[in-house]
Amino acid sequence: MGIDKSEFKEIFDTWFDSLRNFIYYKTGDVQQAEDIVQETFLKVWEKRDTVCIDTVRAYLYTIANHIFINNYQQKKVVLKFINKTKDNKSVESPEFEMEMKEFDAKLQRALSELSDKNREVFLMNRIDDFTYNDIAENLGISVKAVEKRMSKALEHLRKYITGKF
């Protein structure tokens, strides 16, 4: 029971990114996500005597989620991801570039239209590369529930994209 300063830094380094992403999936607001995660770690520090390093992940997600729900107004989510690899313009044609952009826009709109529950699970798996087990543990839900939300999300995306194309 209890964590010291170096362990606190370790927890921060391990979980900051995925926590920030997690809140971003809910809000579509980077600054808000960063604020919420900073507050989350402040809370963890306040409770450092009762925090256990083995169970801290579910605790982090719960606190972040609670801070979001209790302190921020839910707005319409508009996700805007950036591309990891800069598109190599010398290789791709301008038409292809255009099509890609269009597809991205469609996909991101489709993602924004998902319900929060389905979206966060889907993106945690596809972007943060969490396994279903990881997600279940993070959110304190069953693996079955994760599977359900994943398939619902994908189904919704398919419908949205094909419908608008």
């Binding site: 900051f16 990114d17 960063e34």
Partner: protein, 296 residues
């Protein structure tokens, strides 16, 4: 190769191709950041150093809270019902029975046949209050106010003995010792020993008893009547001997003065019927038929 990719995008997006495309695009996505992670951690350390506390509201656990309210409501209601079930004490004297009962405060009640009292076991000592239907004699311990509620009137006593008669035929309270206050329809009468209050046409009327002891002789099995309608007397006979009496009309206008004992039905019927010039016949099934003598 360029064309290949191009064609792929122009294809109708169905099934696995679409899924693969979605996954491919997603794997290239990154959440944007406004501040660097290092910056945020330093800011966090600064806050910690300054002893700043998080100002964020955390949830009260609504669900357990609501559940606990619901649970305690259920428990309270259960307790209330249980309490009422065990708390409400009912003492009943059936047909032909008389009961002597000591109340929790030490007062004694003598219940005549076909009478009952109801009171709260737990609060009676503090709040001496009971409901009476029928006739009862009370020997009330001195103390706080003692309230008898009857369907017709309220009787309030301060340590005394009294007889209360409250049946369909009438209402009468007789004070033996002490003082008794009777209230009905905002009319209030206070009586002292030897006085009675009777109800006639919904009005309380004070009368003086010639022979006070006789109003409560029923306790010893003697029933004394002073110029009472024969119907009233037969009603009492029915209650004391557990019989049903069939009597000809017009008896309510004939009056009887005298007494009978509840030990012997034939003796009682003789006492009433012979002087009133009536015949009686006892039939099986607890039935008594009264007829005028000249009818024969």
């Amino acid at each position: 190769m360029e064309n290949n990719i191009h064609n792929k995008l122009h294809r109708d997006y169905f099934g696995e191709n679409l899924d693969t495309e979605i996954y491919n695009r997603l794997s290239n996505y990154k959440v944007p950041e406004s501040r660097h992670k290092k910056e945020i951690f330093d800011n966090l350390l600064q806050k910690i150093e300054l002893g700043q506390k998080s100002t964020m509201k955390m949830p009260t656990n609504y669900r357990p809270f609501i559940f606990s309210i619901a649970a305690s409501l259920v428990v309270l209601m259960g307790l209330y019902f249980l309490f009422n079930l065990f708390d409400q004490q009912k003492i009943v004297a059936g047909v032909g029975k008389q009961i002597q009962y000591q109340l929790p405060d030490g007062s004694v009640v003598y219940l005549n046949a076909c009478s009952e009292i109801k009171f709260s076991k737990f609060s009676f000592v503090k709040n001496r209050q009971l409901k009476l239907v029928g006739e009862a004699f009370f020997d009330v311990r001195k103390g706080s106010k003692f309230l008898i509620e009857t369907p017709k009137a309220k009787v309030q006593i301060l340590g005394t003995t009294l007889n209360v008669f409250s049946r369909d035929e009438g209402f009468k309270v007789t004070c033996h010792t002490g003082r008794v206050q009777v209230t009905s329809n905002s009319q209030t009468e206070i009586i002292i020993p030897g006085e009675s209050v009777e109800m006639n046409n919904n009005q309380l009327e004070k009368t003086t008893e010639k022979n006070i002891e006789k109003t409560s002789t029923w306790r010893t099995g003697i029933f004394y009547f002073d110029n009472k309608s024969l119907m009233t007397i037969f009603d009492e006979v029915e209650r004391q001997f557990d019989v049903s009496i069939e009597a000809p009309a017009g008896l309510e206008n004939r009056f009887f003065t005298g007494s009978f004992s509840n030990k012997n039905l034939i003796e009682t019927l003789d006492i009433v019927c012979i002087p009133m010039d009536l015949n009686y016949e006892i039939r099986p099934g607890h039935k008594v038929i009264i007829t005028h003598k000249n009818d024969r």
